[in-house]
Amino acid sequence: MFLAIKEIKHDKLRYGLIISLIFFVSYLVFVLTGLASGLSNLNKSALEPWHAERIILNKDAQGRLAQSFLPLRDLGKIGNRGAQIAQYSTIVKGKSGQKEENTQLLAVNKDEFIYKRLPLIAGDKFTAEKEALASAKFKTDGYKVGDYFTTANSKEQIKIVGFTKEASLNAAPVVYISFETLGKIDKDVTNGVVLNKKLDKNIKLSDSESYTLTQFINKLPGYSAQQLTFNFMIGFLFIIILIIISIFLYILTIQKLPNFGVMKAQGIPTRYLVLNTLTQTLIISVAGVGVAIVLSILTAVVLPTQVPISISLSSVCVAGTGIILMSLLGSLIPIQQIIRVDPVKMIGG
């Protein structure tokens, strides 16, 4: 600790450079993780409060809710074991001049579990026809409880009676309505049935297939490709951090080998020198990651809400810990140099 701190103080520029390097890469990692989870939320945040297990869709729909029609035969077999759902993509136009929203209308039944689990943040859940419970996104965009909207291809005026926690599906905010309301706008069909427990084994469905919610999410259009891209980039950055830190520490250590040799000649134990290098790596990586954490959280606050970025302290801390571990791993080669250095070669004379 003693040597580590003295050295950083003495060589501010050099250590400042390494710290800023770690900072930049960590910041990049945090922003990318934030974007990955932001975009992922945009695709599926509506599903979270349901706490569902499985979803049953038409087996020809390739796991896509909007493309699925559940045949009456199967609906009858499932009975009231799940929550029926319909997805209808449309444009919502506010009657008081609010901006038009690309929207996913989701029809659910009042007496089934999805409806019961929807978290309210203002107003009430819908109870009658032509009433709607909208995602918080609409509230941020200027809609209020009691406002009316119409949808593309329909003249029906629908009243917002409440707002639910930010909910979005297929990159569009969600508005919950009843099947009757959906029938007024378009056709009243059932696209799927969501289950909060496994279906009995002896129920044999003829034209439908049951997916776990994870399977369903992975089949959301573009979702897997997008997340894979982000994970790849983040994984790559971790490797880059490992390489940069290794190289930097290696060069630094090579330059300092004479000093290490001298200290060994004086009888300073190698263990002390190694611990010292580890402490130093820990100090610089914690400093770099720390600044990056603060700045990425500020970034999330400052960025306009249109940018789908979701940086949470917990995810940033997990990624940050990963980066710090990578740094410590990167100091292994330099530490080997320190263990190997022969004091006689370094003392001269």
């Binding site: 003495h10 000093n259 004086q266 134990p269 003392i347 004379g349």
Partner: protein
């Protein structure tokens, strides 16, 4: 059993055409409370001798006994420990840690070793060496002679039984040289230290209890 003894020590550097015999069949002995001088011209093997005597490198053949213990048989770790507690080196190239102030050079030793000089003893060493005013300077702010004196103080600070000094007066003027030699002599005679000083400066011979001459790796008592 105290004292430092080299028995038939040889050191060969390199192999084949680059083979070089730096020490050949060296026999050497120094007892407690003695100041021994080893004089020889440049390249004669003085540093090689000193680093082998202090366990900083191992001889190609022969034995090195410190307090009766053959140090060539010690592990790396035990040798490092011995350098910390028993043997203090003053190296030819001064070798101060560049990012520590003079005071911190001593603080570092304090971190890894107990039983260093008392504050009072240390202060008097600083006074004799004339480096008290330099405590808060970095090595690159010191002159060659100042660095040399700090290096001497650093070796003394750990209060070792043996002090092995490689050209400790090379950068000092005559006055300082005599002060340093008198200090070493007093440490030997009054504090029972065993001191080996390696030098090419023949003027120092009169300060020593015993003088060895080294030429082309061969050592003989004068």
């Amino acid at each position: 059993m105290t004292g430092l003894k080299l028995i038939d020590v040889s050191k060969v550097y390199g192999t084949g055409s680059s083979r070089f015999v730096a020490l050949s069949q060296v026999n050497f002995e120094v007892e407690e409370s003695q100041l021994v001088l080893v004089v020889g011209p440049s390249g004669s093997g003085k540093t090689t001798f000193l680093t082998i005597a202090g366990g900083l490198q191992t001889p190609s053949s022969g034995d090195v006994l410190i307090n009766g213990q053959d140090i060539t048989l010690l592990s790396q770790k035990e040798q490092t420990k011995m350098r910390l507690t028993t043997v203090g080196f003053v190296l030819q190239a001064y070798n101060l840690v560049p990012y520590l102030t003079v005071k911190e050079q001593f603080d570092l030793l304090e971190k890894v070793k107990t039983n260093n000089l008392s504050e009072k003893q240390f202060n008097s060493v600083l006074n004799i060496l004339g480096i008290k005013e330099l405590l808060f300077k970095y090595p690159d702010e010191l002159s060659g002679g100042q660095k040399q004196r700090v290096a001497i103080a650093r070796a003394l600070f750990a209060d070792p039984e043996y002090i092995l000094a490689d050209e400790p007066t090379a950068s000092l003027d005559t006055g300082r040289t005599m002060q340093v030699m008198n200090l070493l002599k007093r440490l030997a005679h009054e504090n029972q230290k065993t001191i080996i000083v390696v030098t090419h400066d023949l003027r120092l011979e009169k300060m020593a209890d015993k003088v060895y001459q080294i030429t082309d790796g061969k050592m003989k008592k004068v």
